[in-house]
């Protein structure tokens, strides 16, 4: 009690130290990836150490950029990821609000259905899903690339929880302000859920962007490849031994857009709504 102030300062420093140490562990492999991406593949066949010593090369990156299809794949990935993110956010928000704040016949069983869907492993449905889309002749379309991931029960659960935590008085105030349920949803509830939206948005985007197996079996025409499938198709059969630098460059190339997106979004995760300084 009495000596709190100094101990808090020490505690702060200790925690910061722990975080910085942890961050060092976290960033080391990433630095390694970036470092490897600038090394010639032949050198990497012998050693993956010596990151700071020459030779360096940009060839791994120029090899990617020289592929005529790569920007088409990137566009595909962007369409798929943005489409999936947007639609998931809309679906999850609407549904989360419906479950959190409204009532209707059959709400309980429908919420249970969501929970059940949550527990369905991807592997359990991928074969039937592929067959379904084949029957509908939808493979090699954006619809097939986007829709299978829209049923994202976790998103619904997350939004439900988040909406529940918003004070009901605010909505009641809006109700008394003559706002319709939809207006309340759009003008009050959605803006208040920005941190959750940003989180869910990043996650779905990342998931869609990095997805591999489904686009692999669904988009078989090279012009419909996503970036992950396209980049992987460029790898030779011995990529892991002969093309390590190239692989790493691909990883950096494919990861960069998501990282940029995160940097953009994280302002909203640590948002201005509740986090605005009171003073």
């Amino acid at each position: 009690m009495k000596i709190r102030t100094p101990s808090t300062a020490t505690g702060d420093r200790l925690i910061l130290l722990a975080v910085v140490l942890l961050a060092a562990i976290w960033i080391a492999p990433i630095v390694w990836v970036v470092g490897l991406s600038f090394k010639p593949n032949e050198v990497l066949m012998r050693t993956t150490g010596g990151l700071v010593s020459p030779p360096f090369t940009l060839k791994n990156y120029t090899d990617i950029l020289n592929s005529s299809a790569v920007f088409g794949w990137m566009l595909n990935s962007a369409i798929v990821a943005i489409g999936q993110m947007t639609l998931t956010l809309i679906l999850a928000s609407l549904t989360g609000y419906g479950f959190a704040r409204t009532n209707f016949p059959g709400k309980r069983p429908l919420f249970l259905l969501t929970l059940v869907a949550l527990a369905v492993p991807e592997q359990a449905i991928i074969v039937p899903l592929h067959t379904m889309f084949a029957t509908l002749d939808l493979h090699n379309t954006y619809i097939a690339l986007i829709t299978p991931r829209l049923a994202f029960p976790f998103g619904v659960l997350l939004m439900t929880q988040y909406f529940r935590a918003i004070s009901p008085e605010i909505e009641e105030a809006a109700l008394l302000d003559n706002a319709s349920r939809l207006r309340i949803f759009i003008f009050i509830v959605l803006p208040l859920s920005v941190p959750a939206q940003a989180t869910l948005g990043i996650y779905t985007f990342l998931h869609a962007w990095n997805d591999y197996f489904w686009p692999l079996v669904s988009a078989t025409r090279p012009e419909m490849y996503t970036l992950t499938v396209g980049l992987a198709s460029m790898q030779t059969n011995f990529a892991q031994t002969e093309g390590l630098g190239f692989l790493m460059a691909q990883a950096v190339f494919a990861g960069l857009p998501v990282l940029v997106l995160y940097l953009f979004f994280q302002r909203h995760i640590v948002a201005a709504v509740a986090g605005a300084p009171t003073r």
Binding site: V19, G98, P168, R181, L256, Q266
Partner: protein
């Protein structure tokens, strides 16, 4: 606070009828689009999968008719499969607490507008943007016996060598470490979003009450985000039950089947060995386990809620 005075929203509206805004039936339109999607894209394929699990169906060899429970009886006499259940459960038990604790620690520590905190958040998120292929490639370099980074460090410190690739004991923990490293960004971000919902005034009040850091954590922060902790735990359990790529690409499930997860078994039997019906049965077992885990957690979270 208001929650204590006002009845829960669902309770309130339950007796409302047409009293407030829209009618009850109309509210269903909030969830209807999603329900349609989930039925068409999850529930329907799930039932197809369940049907498949009772068939002898080879992806290329074709359909050889129903076999009743044969796929299931075969599964439960398959030592490899039983091993994957053990591995999967162990893995969930290893990683989920790590995700929650580390994620929480990072979120609480880095929840501010400070520039250096923003940078650190990005660092912890950055690993998530890598694909599993690259993540495992790098970590295999770390884990390489004798020459890898880990071996160098343990040698330097004079510790006994930990060799996740060839050790039956360390294989699964090795995969777990990679997994936590890879996707800690998600729980951290979820916790950050939840922390944003705690009103600043509560912390100010606590500061005025001269609450210690620990007291603030245990009596304000944790209770305020308890629901999120439940949700994150649930999510991580669900996600980690579906461990696949990291195990496949780091250890291949070995040594001696000690790190092969259920999904790898499903993948190998279904997609490599083409035994779709058999793999479907294994999928249903995984589904059942995950469902039980989800229900138990939801029930635990809920019963605490009601107290």
């Amino acid at each position: 606070m208001s929650g204590a005075i006002l009845p829960a929203p669902s309770q309130r509206t339950a007796t409302t009828g047409s009293g407030i805004g829209m009618s009850a039936w109309a509210n269903m339109f909030f969830v209807l689009p999603y329900i349609i999607v989930v039925v068409a894209l999850v529930i329907a394929p799930l039932f197809l999968g369940i049907w498949l699990s009772f068939q002898d169906y080879d992806m290329l060899g074709g359909w050889a008719g129903g076999v009743a429970f044969e796929n299931y009886t075969n599964l439960f006499s398959d030592r490899i499969f039983l091993g994957t259940i053990r591995n999967t459960l162990l893995f969930v038990v290893m990683t989920t607490p790590a995700f929650v604790v580390v994620g929480l620690f990072l979120a609480i520590t880095l929840n501010s507008h400070l520039r250096r905190h923003a940078v650190l958040r990005s660092v912890f998120f950055a690993s998530s943007v890598l694909s599993v292929t690259v993540v495992t490639l790098v970590w295999r370099l770390v884990y390489l016996p004798n020459q890898g980074l880990l071996a160098s460090v343990t040698n330097l410190l004079g510790l006994p060598g930990i060799d996740p690739v060839t050790s039956e004991t360390w294989a699964l923990p090795g995969v777990a470490v990679v997994t936590v490293w890879w996707i800690i960004g998600l729980p951290m971000t979820l916790f950050l979003a939840a922390l944003q919902q705690i009103p600043k005034e509560i912390y100010e009040a606590a500061a005025l009450d001269r609450a210690s850091r620990w007291a603030t954590l245990t009596s304000i922060t944790l209770p305020s985000i308890r629901r999120t902790i439940v949700v994150v735990t649930l999510l991580e359990v669900i996600l980690q039950f579906q461990l696949f790529g990291q195990a496949l690409l780091i250890t291949g499930g070995g040594p001696d089947n000690r790190s092969r997860p259920m999904v790898q078994f499903i993948y190998e039997t279904g997609f490599r060995d083409l035994q779709v019906g058999f793999a479907a049965a294994a999928s249903q077992v995984l589904f059942a386990l995950m469902l039980v885990a989800a229900i138990v957690q939801f029930w635990v979270g809920r019963s605490r809620d009601e107290r």
